[in-house]
Symmetry: C2
Subunit: 138 residues, 2 copies
DNA sequence: ATTTAAATGCAACTCTGTTGCGTTGTTTTG
DNA sequence: CAAAACAACGCAACAGAGTTGCATTTAAAT
């Protein structure tokens, strides 16, 4: 597993406190984390806007991928695989609490047809339902 | 193709102006429409909140399904198939303009594994990329 | 026609995410 | 190692999606 500082350098992103802290938290998480999740998880209090911009920077660099939860809240997850290796992300999204879980399983869905003039970038599979905690509470 | 009023009745929803108008627009659309899209498409000006509540009611009844676009805006699309017939929705989502296109193609993805204690409801496939208009503008 | 429960409209609010701008800090280059 | 160059940060103010409470209206049942 690569180090945080190494990853930042590879993507020509400056090595700052926020970035190291955010990336470190996300690399250890098996769930997608929201802006709010992250600001709670971080010890130091960074500016709201800085955190938003950090997440954007990571997403554009391909370090993170974004998943929208059913409540319209963006969840970010660390992208272990390089962008070139086009595999198929799969996430479990809880319809109650909105948590996004990264699933291990992968899919050979490379040959999906899209309308004329459209270009594909990624294919995401979203399994929706209720997580263990939310199922138990019903 | 079933009539709007018949559908509302089948789901024990009262037959009101908003509902007939909204459902009618959505049944004719091959794209997912947002709250804003709909309030523009409707001739009569309904209250913002009423429109939100209408969409919720339709979603809970299974008449519509909701897809979140990358900007965190909910898009609603008419569910032609009954809920019992568990097929796999596929949507094309434009990373630039955020439009959600319903694709015809379907998938035999019934046997996906989820963690212990989790329950599946639906499986959505999202193909992300750039639509014909946004590809042309680059 | 009358009743009843659901749907509507209005006001006020919450929260995620954005934009502009001056300041700070990292990195590079002499 | 100092200084310039530019990216990243913090603050303030804003924009827009979606929500909640409550009074009023309307669809449907008796």
């Amino acid at each position: 597993m690569k180090g945080v500082e190494e990853i930042l350098q590879q993507h020509s992103l400056k090595n700052t406190k926020v970035r190291k802290a955010v990336l470190s938290v996300l690399m250890r998480s098996d769930k997608g984390l929201s802006h709010q999740d992250l600001s709670r998880a971080l010890d130091v209090d960074f500016d709201r806007v800085t955190l938003f911009r950090t997440l954007h920077a990571f997403e554009e660099s391909g370090i993170l991928h974004k998943i929208m939860d059913p409540n319209g809240i963006a969840k970010y997850a660390y992208t272990a695989r390089p962008a070139a290796d086009r595999h198929c992300h799969a996430h479990f999204i809880c319809l109650d609490c909105g948590q996004v879980f990264c699933l291990d399983e992968e899919f050979p869905l490379g040959d999906m047809k899209v309308p004329k003039g459209f270009s594909k970038t990624t294919i995401d599979v979203q399994i929706k339902g209720y997580c263990n905690k939310c199922t138990a509470q019903d």
